[in-house]
């Protein structure tokens, strides 16, 4: 295994961490307006209160790692998706600010404004991330100078819109299950019914997207054909998804969350497997694609960064897990809450 491949996997791991963690809190945001009354909405926000900004750090660090390990990919994507990136950033800003500001004034109009802002920003954020994924699968027009040659509107083709909606659906399912874990009493029962609807929405998206992928971007499954044993992976994913409603019905909320996490990890795995060794596929001129080799930093930097990651990430994982452990259990409102 060479350093470029290791870093492809590591950047993937960071972004998978982001998908798993911010996945549920984006989902909570997307569902926010379904909660009625101030108490329910405060429970929603406080369920992710202690963890949301730590979750976002996975994106920031993933972005930093991409910059360090594959500067060309970082530069091409950020400048090519210029307006989309800033829309994403604005939605992240509004989310952060909405969570922080909402409960700091008592007025109804104040809270309503931030509730809407939190919900819309969360949906937009998940959707835009999905659009980026869709474009990476579909390919974007690149020139010999590694620069994007299309426009903002060129990013919004039907396949990318489909991946965008699917990511929203994944987040909503994941977030609803997370909420089921964190709540109790009548609100908990209400959320169990959300979970069911979210699963239905997700499965519709999942099936549609899978069919669209087979039909329009069949290169995504080439590697499964080369190594048929890998076919087990999407099967495991199917079982994981099917396991979610089963666990919810039996009241095993944690196992449902575990299953939906598994499904997300497999999504990321299949995505990485499908695009490898490209990081940014050039369409229509595939010879200009950015691969893990022609877009990477020097060996020296990849080595140094690997040392940094080997020292840093185990520590990060250890305390992240401890912090989640400290905040386990049902969310309760007290004087420190949002």
């Amino acid at each position: 295994m060479d350093l470029n491949l290791i870093w492809f996997i590591l950047v993937g791991a960071l972004l998978t961490g982001y998908a798993l963690l911010d996945g549920f809190d984006l989902g909570v945001g997307a569902l926010h307006l379904f909660a009625k009354g101030d108490n329910e909405r405060r429970l929603m926000i406080n369920s992710i209160g202690p963890v949301w900004d730590g979750n976002e750090v996975w994106l920031v660090t993933g972005g930093g790692a991409l910059f360090a390990a594959f500067p060309d990919v970082y530069a091409t994507l950020a400048s090519g998706f210029y307006l989309a990136v800033f829309l994403l950033i604005f939605s992240l800003i509004f989310r952060a600010v909405a969570i922080e500001f909402r409960s700091k004034q008592p007025f109804a109009w104040w809270r309503k404004t931030w509730d809407i802002s939190f919900c819309v920003a969360s949906i937009l954020c998940a959707f835009l991330l999905g659009v980026v994924v869709g474009n990476l699968i579909w390919g974007i027009p690149l020139g010999a100078d590694k620069e994007y040659q299309g426009s903002f509107w060129g990013l919004l083709h039907p396949y990318a819109l489909m991946t965008g909606i699917t990511v929203v659906a994944v987040c909503m399912m994941h977030g609803s299950i997370y909420l089921a874990m964190k709540t109790e009493g009548s609100f908990h029962n209400k959320i169990r019914s959300w979970v069911k609807n979210c699963i239905i929405f997700f499965v519709i998206c999942y099936v549609t997207l899978t069919m669209a992928t087979m039909l329009y971007v069949p290169h995504m499954v080439d590697r499964l054909k080369d190594f048929p044993v890998l076919f087990l992976v999407p099967m495991v994913q199917l079982f994981a998804i099917a396991n979610v409603p089963r666990c919810i019905a039996k009241g095993w909320d944690f196992f449902a969350f575990f299953s939906s996490s598994g499904a997300i990890v497999i999504f990321m795995f299949l995505f990485g497997l499908g695009i490898f060794p490209n990081m940014v596929l050039s369409n229509p001129s595939p010879q200009y694609s950015l691969t893990i080799y022609n877009a990477s930093s020097s060996v020296k930097t990849l080595e140094t960064m690997l040392v940094i990651a080997m020292i840093g990430m185990p520590i990060v994982l250890a305390y992240t897990i401890s912090i989640y452990w400290i905040f386990r259990g049902k969310v309760k409102l007290n004087e420190h809450s949002y």
Binding site: G54, A68, P71, V85, I93, S297, T301, F327
Partner: protein, 449 residues
Amino acid sequence: MDLLILSRLQFALTIMFHYIYPPMSIGLGLIIVIMESMYMVTKKPLYHKMTKFWVKMFGLNFAIGVATGIVMEFEFGTNWSTYSRYVGDVFGSALAAEGIFAFFLESGFLAILLFGWDKVSARVHWVSALLVCLGAHFSAIWIIVAGSWMQTPAGFHIVGHGMTARAEITDFWAMVFNPSSMERLAHVIVAAWLTGAFFVLSVSAYYLLNKRHIEFAKISMRVALIVALVAAIGQMITGRIGAETVAKYQPTKLVAMEGHYPANEPAGMYLFGYVNEKEQKVYGLKIPGLLSFLAQGDANAPMAGIKSFKKEELPPINIVFQSYHFMITIGVLLFILTITCLVYLWRGKLFKATWLLKILVPSVILPQIANQLGWMTAEIGRQPWIVYGLLRTSEGLSKAVKANMVLTSLIMFTFIYLLLFVLYIYLFDTKIKLGPDEMDQDKQMHRAD
């Protein structure tokens, strides 16, 4: 307007707006650790209440710091993609290290600091405060290493030619300890302490003037004054060392900072002045020979001046000169203010000296302005280079981005940041007026609906 101007404007707006918050986090973080340590040792409830109040302030400030910081992470790529390709091998690794060592630490333990009061023991809570504070300091380390590398590049070589040329690391530690990184780091950290300290001083002075939370305000003020003293002295020392490094490695920045025009003549130092760039003259009060003396040890030693360099090698002179001089003026003012307060405290008159407290309330703005001016000196002084001596700012732009796109994002940033800033001040104001008694706050905030 052209792409270069718009991109620079947007970068300036977003980085300057972002930089309101991190120094507050660093400085306030330190003060919180000191207060919680006092509580751990004495177990006095007042110290606990102080810690809780300043933690709430910290939380609000931190959230906006995070929200505006994400912008910076991606803006190198969006607007300066050629630059990103050029420096990614060097700059990217420092940025990634920042994520791994600093951001995770800060945001992780912030959860315990803000929400963990009843969930963990007092000792674990104290450790969390310490780690959040350390994390805030660590984040300064890596970003300043990266920024200093752009001022005084070291530990790299250039690979490739023309369009594909880029800097690659040859020696990681030489890159980290490049000639200006450590003293710039020290200068920035003490400035952050000063920022946090004057925030606490300001709020405490406000309470004293209004005769509310008197004990709370008195103790908070004592803590903040000690931090301010250390920082104000540290500021002078680190500033002095920093200027020497500029003299050694960035002559074009030095001549702009000092407004020294003539080539090869002894250089004086202006206390203040106005630079007429057209006539190439500075009008102001000058101490003759001082710059030569400080830089070369001889008041009559000739030094290179602005006229020694070609125009395309020089930054804009007046703005660098003014930023630098106003920064120093504010630094001196803060030093005098701190010493005055300490003398009054020593004599037991500080808490009754209404005129002094009235000065302290608005003085919260001074370190903030000095921080911005310091960065203006550093970054505008580096022009026309984005990486000093290697890559021009105009060469670092994104090729796929058009001026109208930048104009769009710039307008959106302007609106959003204006809104954020107004709300930030409004919420701080509400919280400060409610005071440290959190029971009041809770009753006010969450009436049954």
